[in-house]
Amino acid sequence: MSLAVEAVDVVKIFGEIRAVDGLSFNVKNGETFGLIGPNGAGKTTALRIAATLLLSTSGVMKIFGLNVVQEAAEVRKIITYLPEEAGAYRNLSGWEYLEFMAKFNTRSKDEAQQMVNEAAEITGLGERLKDKTKTYSKGMKRRLLVARALMNKPKLAILDEPTSGLDVLHAYHVREIIKRYVKEHNVTVLLSSHNMLEVEHVCDRVALINKGKVVAEGKPSELKEKFGSANLEEVFAKVIGLA
């Protein structure tokens, strides 16, 4: 099976802080992979490097064999990126926002319209899509943005904390969108979360990150078994020596 993401010894230094410190992991084509760890562990930095936003200080990251620095323009054609706490354009309606985004992925009006229709269905926002996004709640906005990240069926969707700050209902809805869409359209997902319980339900495999390094990697069930823990939170605590 070809690799969707290949990170080899990636380091990112900001000033005197080593945000990512020799990070290595692989994501297989078609799987949902989670980078999990506490705030400040380096998850967002790693995803930003994968999304061609940040340059690594050293190491190599490849997306479907394409180098994220030397072939950044090619990488951008096959990925979508959902930043943590991302916003939508305030003065555009939800519908206009989706249209705007769809036009970057295709020159065909029909295809773009099809993408927008599909995204509209994913959001479940109905008539509210005609309203400007500045009138949306946080949960509504997040549903719109997740739909945007998936509507063009990217080869790799990079989702940073997709349910961060959402109430239980909205978080459930977003998780269901991701699970359903990935299964139906064979999209590979690389996501990050500090909610380890949530990740268990969504991800095929996970990498536990602490201080910029992968401290454990595998299927959630395997990790729980290996460390004799009831959930990933306990696994993490044991790995870093807290329990």
């Binding site: 230094i13 900001f14 000033g15 005197e16 930003r48 999304a51 061609t52 936003l53 940040l54 340059l55 690594s56 200080t57 620095v69 030397q70 072939e71 950044a72 323009a73 951008r76 054609k77 990925i79 979508t80 990126y81 959902l82 930043p83 706490e85 991302a86 916003g87 939508a88 354009y89 305030r90 003065n91 555009l92 206009e96 705007f100 985004m101 036009k103 970057f104 992925n105 400007k132 943005l145």
Partner: protein
């Protein structure tokens, strides 16, 4: 054309966002479009109505003289205005107020009892002057309430000339571009040209500051609303993002400037409407209106200057995280716009000391103003040199802006006002 792939889509989004932003729509387009015509309308209405009122009002003359000269003066006044006469009244506070109230007027004239005697003495002794007294009510209600005073001044001046016509008059001529144009008063010409010399720097000043505000707001909004990260990962060249931002701003600022100029023009014309009759000059026939080529040069000069200002605004706003900081940081560039604009409003650059001249020429934002003056007198070379200089400056700033967009600095750069001791070590490379 991959460089500009997605440009059209992005530009459309920019325009929608900018035009739908109530702050920009109100502040840049609607307010200047309404404010100046309304101000102009109020001014010309006030002046006109005060003039009409003064012309139609009854001029009350209290004649305490009874001599020949007072009869002549009243007859003269009667020729130009509606005159009522009251004879032999001692004017104290109460009497004056009573008369003003009875006649529903705001001023009156008293011809004192020695008026005719003094006029006669004046024939043999020029140092003796005959006076009339003018009493005008002050209420502070309107700037033009005492326009009647000027009307009386004018009538008395004419009476004097009627009685003793001037034997010497000045026939004024002006030398324009080396040619003597007879019958044109240089003072009136300067006044006319001056009103235009003010309009251009003010328009340029407003256009540059407005558009820099929009550009900075537009970049900072992407950061504040957290849309920039998404934008930078889209399959679109980052140069297209930069160009989309600049083009959107230029279009909206252009509409704003047009609205401003229309309004301002109307405002200025309300003043020139109050010039004395006979002072209207046809500037075009005097060769003081730029040629089509001149206008073209001015347009190019303005465009390249605008582009450099916007690119500079984009660069500085990339160093802050929110809209408010972006708007403040752009303010640091304003002195470079205001100082040459104000200086060139009042000064002729050719008469300045060399150091000041070099300083003004070095500031790119001086050049559209210098060009606007130069093209009127047909000095196209100055305008062209200015365009070349500003274009070079613009290319440098645009290059810096595109480099900023091509690297991660657009996301990570932060201006540290307090102490620049710890500089971030960011990789020097850029995305391909």
């Amino acid at each position: 054309m991959d460089l500009l792939k997605g440009f059209g889509n992005f530009l459309l989004k920019e325009l929608k966002e900018l035009v739908r932003d109530p702050k920009i729509l109100l502040g840049m387009i609607i307010v200047p479009l309404l404010m100046f015509p309304v101000l102009g309308g109020i001014m010309s209405y006030s002046i006109q109505s005060a003039q009409e009122k003064a012309e139609q009002a009854t001029v009350l003359v209290v004649n305490n003289d009874g001599g020949n000269w007072s009869t002549s003066l009243i007859a003269f006044l009667n020729f130009s205005a509606r005159v009522s006469v009251e004879n032999n009244k001692v004017l104290d506070n109460n009497t004056i107020l009573e008369l003003l109230a009875n006649y529903n007027i705001t001023y009156l004239i008293e011809i004192p009892e020695d008026f005719s005697a003094k006029m006669n003495q004046h024939q043999s002794n020029q140092s003796v002057i005959a006076y009339v007294r003018f009493y005008g009510a002050f209420s502070g209600a309107s700037l033009f309430e005492n326009i009647g005073s000027s009307v009386i001044d004018n009538l008395i001046y004419q009476f004097n000339r009627h009685w003793a016509p001037d034997s010497v008059a000045i026939n004024k001529s002006t030398i324009i571009k080396g040619n003597v144009v007879e019958g044109v008063d240089p003072n009136i010409l300067t006044t006319l040209m001056y009103s235009q010399a003010i309009a251009m720097p003010i328009t340029i000043m407003i256009l540059l500051t407005y558009s820099m505000q929009i550009a900075a707001t537009s970049v900072a909004m992407e950061k504040e609303e957290k849309t920039l990260e998404t934008l930078l990962t889209l399959p679109m060249d980052r140069f297209a993002i930069l160009m989309g931002k600049l083009s959107g701003t230029i279009l909206v600022a252009g509409i704003g400037a047009l609205a401003y100029m229309l309004g301002f023009n109307y405002y200025m014309s309300s003043f020139t409407a109050t010039f004395p009759a006979g002072t209207s000059l046809d500037l075009a026939s005097l060769g003081l209106v730029p040629s089509v080529f001149g206008y073209l040069l001015l347009g190019i000069s303005l465009f390249v200057t605008l582009l450099s200002a916007l690119a500079l605004a984009v660069i500085v706003s990339a160093f802050v995280e929110d809209v408010r900081s972006a708007q403040s940081i752009v303010g640091y560039i304003y002195p470079l716009i205001f100082i040459p604009a104000l200086a060139l409003m009042y000064l002729d650059i050719n008469t300045l000391p060399l150091a000041l001249k070099i300083l003004l020429y070095a500031i790119p934002y001086s050049h559209p103003i210098i060009a606007s003056k130069a093209i009127i007198i047909g000095d196209y070379l100055t305008a062209i040199i200015g365009i070349v200089y500003v274009t070079a400056f613009t290319l440098v700033v645009m290059y810096l802006a595109s480099r900023l967009f091509a690297t991660e600095k657009i996301l990570t750069a932060k201006l540290k006002f307090k102490g620049l001791r710890k500089r971030e070590k960011t990789p020097k490379g850029e995305f391909q």
